[in-house]
């Protein structure tokens, strides 16, 4: 680039064919330097301008088309579609960012996708019909909710072997681990409970009754509260993880929508624990909740039947999976605005973004 610029300037004085006079030569060199500097400056500006636009890669599991869609968060385009097993749902990156794990329920396993080659390279031994899973902070142990046999399977991620099972309620789904890694929370959809499991003894230490059909659990980053969404109950229960009791509830109301259409599922909480986003399923909206007051401040219209979501690591964007309209909506977190919707595979379910 720089060479080209100075080449051009060098050629200009010699256009008439005559050798340039010494003075002109000096001018030329000065000009060359200036243009070189300008060239370097513009390159620098370009580099600086390009720097903040950090591209992340999002992986979306499509429950019906048995694929995982790869989205580039810079251009907001689908870059690849990976064929996986039957009925992919829960999806998450390994802590080192090298692999993507996806629970393929109808194949009774968890498949491992290499993030580099973007192809399935291995599988993990879960129980029958794995749906959602959580891993400890170190990324060594994986806890898998097996929807069909009322158990949570414990897997050693390094050895990729099964360590054991924990009996929980009927239709386990939501999974989350406390920031200190000591408590695992599993929600069972039919028992309507959040089970508090001690990760060292792998025993249930408490059961907390919540509203009907709990689908998802999320810890606050400061570990002071656990939020559990109830799909049929239409609420999010706020649980004190020490006392094991419900200390509050988030309720939703959207003018012009039937109460039954409001079915909370996925929850995303910002790192500062100030704002929570709750996916409201067939209400086609994401509720923005002020965590402190537990009040909804805004509803954002996304695609149909929105269930799960994931933040980009810089927390600039939140991506949601809209099952019925087969797309992913992008929310500008700071502006609290939906900026784009991208078509993916059929019945998108889960989403994870490379750390």
């Amino acid at each position: 680039m720089q060479a080209e610029v100075s080449d051009v300037t060098r050629r200009i004085p010699g256009r008439d064919g005559a050798p340039p006079p010494p003075l002109a030569g000096e001018v030329k060199t000065a000009r060359g330097q200036i243009s070189r500097m300008l060239g370097a400056a513009s390159l620098l500006t370009l580099a600086l301008a390009a720097a903040p636009a950090h591209a992340f890669i999002a992986y979306v599991s499509n429950e019906k088309s048995n694929t995982v869609t790869v989205i580039d968060t810079d251009s907001w385009t689908v870059t690849k579609t990976i064929k996986v097993g039957q009925r992919p749902r829960g999806i998450d990156f390994t802590r080192d960012g090298k692999f993507v794990m996806v629970a393929v329920g109808d194949d009774d396993t968890i498949q491992v996708i290499d993030a580099k080659t973007q192809s399935v390279v291995d599988s993990l031994p879960s129980g029958p019909d794995p749906e959602l899973f959580a891993q400890d902070a170190a990324g060594k142990i994986l806890y898998v909710a097996n929807e069909n046999d009322n158990t949570v399977t414990v897997i050693d991620l390094e050895k990729r072997s099964r360590l054991g099972d924990i009996q929980v309620g009927v239709e386990p789904e939501g999974m989350t681990i406390s920031p200190d890694g000591k408590t695992l929370i599993n929600t069972s959809e039919t028992t309507n409970m959040a089970h508090f499991i001690d990760t060292s003894s792998r025993q249930i230490v408490a059961n907390v009754l919540v509203d009907a059909r709990p689908r998802f659990a999320e810890f606050k980053h400061d570990a002071s509260e656990v939020w559990v969404s109830s799909e049929i109950g239409g609420t999010v229960s706020v649980i004190d993880p020490k006392k094991h009791e419900v200390i509050g509830k988030v309720t939703f109301e959207i003018p012009g929508l039937r109460k039954e259409a409001i079915q909370p599922v996925g929850i995303g909480m910002t790192k500062d624990d100030k704002t929570a986003f709750v996916a409201l399923g067939p209400a086609n909206r994401i509720a923005v909740v002020d965590v402190a007051s537990r009040k909804v401040t805004k509803y954002l219209l996304v695609g149909q039947r929105v269930w799960h979501m994931a933040f980009t690591p810089d927390e600039k964007y939140l991506l949601t999976t809209n099952g019925v309209s087969n797309d992913v909506s992008v929310i500008d977190v700071a502006a609290q605005k939906v900026i784009k919707t991208i078509q993916v595979g059929e019945l998108p379910w889960g989403i994870t973004i490379a750390p």
Binding site: G256, L301, Q304, S329
Partner: protein, 282 residues
């Protein structure tokens, strides 16, 4: 004024003289608008009634398909906002043409028409004045809409301006063309029934055309042929920093046709403005 009228018209007029005429007409229209506060209020209330009441009932109608220029699902009030902006301009265009009828009845128009400047230029100034007034109304509406969570990208407020000027000119010149045929103020009700309502309802202002097509293909073709549809789409795209070329072409050519038509119609020797034998060839 008299110095202008007495001198040799064949010499032509200077740019400054044209500008004097333009500012005079725009100023008068602005004053008229400011003095008619009810007109400003009603110009705002009309679209706001649609936005707050009509759109509230139809909120759930959309949100099932993404149509350009939108990149995601939108609420109904976001959809109809450009249509309501165009509606403001439609009413304003018809209202300023109504004012021409009024001016003619009251004799004010004579003052305007004795000006030696070309008739076409006078009419064009009148159009510009009407468009300027409609811009004030539209931006006031956008300000209120912003509080109603209709928040297009901030650059959109600027990019929509050329679209608004062009659509304002088109609707204004259409109004002028129509007004040339109206002899009495009372006939304006007919304009409402036969021009404003059909133009507004048979357009993409209230519902996307793919929806209309599902209901009736014939109505769809009618909507497609309606210049008002293209004014709405031009505004809609411009509000999101995009250009709808087809709409731009339609609106631009309609503006030219209507304007030529209006100038022709207001020519005392030819047009529709000719009244009886006395007003004829003078």
């Amino acid at each position: 004024m008299s110095s202008i009228t007495t001198r040799d018209a064949s010499r032509g007029f200077s740019f400054a003289e044209y500008m004097t005429c333009l500012t005079g007409i725009v100023w008068r229209e602005g004053l008229r608008f400011l003095h008619q506060r009810e007109r400003f209020v009603s110009a705002l209330v009309r679209p706001l009634v649609w936005l707050f009441i009509f759109a509230a009932g139809f909120r759930q109608v959309l949100g099932i398909s993404i149509i350009p220029p939108y990149e995601t699902y939108i609420l109904y009030e976001v959809y109809i906002a450009p249509g309501l902006m165009a509606m403001i301009q439609l009413f304003n265009g018809m209202q300023s043409s109504l004012s021409m009828v009024y001016d003619r009845e009251m004799g004010n128009m004579r003052t305007l028409l004795v000006s030696p400047l070309p008739r076409g230029f006078l009419l064009f100034c009148k159009l510009l004045a009407g468009t300027a007034v409609s811009l004030l109304q539209v931006y006031a509406f956008l300000l209120i809409a912003w509080f109603w969570d209709i928040t297009p990208p901030s650059s959109g407020y600027l990019t929509v301006l050329p679209a608004l000027i062009l659509s304002g000119l088109m609707l204004g010149s259409l109004g002028m063309l129509i007004s040339s045929g109206i002899k009495q103020l009372e006939n304006f009700a007919g304009v409402m029934n036969f021009v404003i309502f059909p133009m507004f309802f048979a357009s993409s202002a209230l519902y996307p055309l793919w929806r209309v097509q599902e209901g009736s293909p014939y109505l769809y073709y009618l909507c497609e042929a309606n210049p008002f549809t293209h004014a709405v789409e031009l505004i809609r795209f411009a509000l999101y920093g995009q250009i709808n070329w087809i709409s731009l072409a339609v609106v631009a050519s309609c503006t030219i046709v209507f304007m030529i038509g209006a100038i022709w119609a207001y020519d005392p020797s030819r047009g529709l403005a000719r009244r009886g034998p006395a007003g004829g060839e003078g």
